[in-house]
Symmetry: C2
Amino acid sequence: MKNTTLVTMTTSDSVPSRRQTWQKDAVLHALGTSQGFVSAQQLHRQLTQHGSAIGLATVYRTLNSLVADGLADSLVGREGESLFRDCSKDHHHHLICNGCGVAVEIEAKQAEAWASKVAKDHGFTDVSHTIDIFGLCKQCTK
Amino acid sequence: MKNTTLVTMTTSDSVPSRRQTWQKDAVLHALGTSQGFVSAQQLHRQLTQHGSAIGLATVYRTLNSLVADGLADSLVGREGESLFRDCSKDHHHHLICNGCGVAVEIEAKQAEAWASKVAKDHGFTDVSHTIDIFGLCKQCTK
DNA sequence: GTCTTATTGATATCCATTATCAGTAAGGCT
DNA sequence: AGCCTTACTGATAATGGATATCAATAAGAC
């Protein structure tokens, strides 16, 4: 039971200036070329297979910071692992194929509105939601 | 795990008759008395603290079979752990407090309808969805 | 160039969950 | 009741994703 309400004081003056590294570029680029959602492990495998000598820990770190900075989107897959995707655009949701992993972006305004209304109605704050649809795409259904 | 030689199952159907054990009852009962969603670990802790000498593996096994049988509901929490809840009723969704863990049951007909429509429109089959809202409840907001 | 320190990466570690497997006991049978 | 099959249990090992550690490296400021 974790209750650490940690607020990571990234405020004001103590902001460490980010440094640009080829590793970060590599992760971002690899993310960008991926079709659907990918796990950190997959990404790392892909990178190393392409010759990159990036470390696994760095991939995790980079992905997390990307998500924190809103440059990537993440969701929890079937087995509980985190999946990532390039997504500097606005917030949206996905229709994901359990077979091939393809992810279709879907408009969820309706659902979003509903979600935030429900939360508000119950006096909840700091609201986030998880709205994703899983299934088998037309190809994989065969 | 290959059982090459001892398949022989002459029994009409391969459905192994379930046996009733105090362990299963204990898990089910503990689930029933829990307020919101609980993790397998929490449940096990609760049970052992109450004198029960049930094994952790059994708790996991039982919970999984409960979910498989539709007697329990499960979802993936913030840290990626599985959370369970007594829920033989029909499918529904939850508004979950990240602070205290309280789970409010919510009507999601709207969202569900939307989800299945979107999936169908894209030719997806075997569809399931993940619709949950997280936030801080009124109490924990303070 | 020199210095500071953010960042990296190999590895140890953590933690939830599952697999193993010998021992136990539920429940059918006689 | 006793027997027998085997579903079930539980201590523990193993798995696997993700994070922590920490010395070494290199980005960016001077």
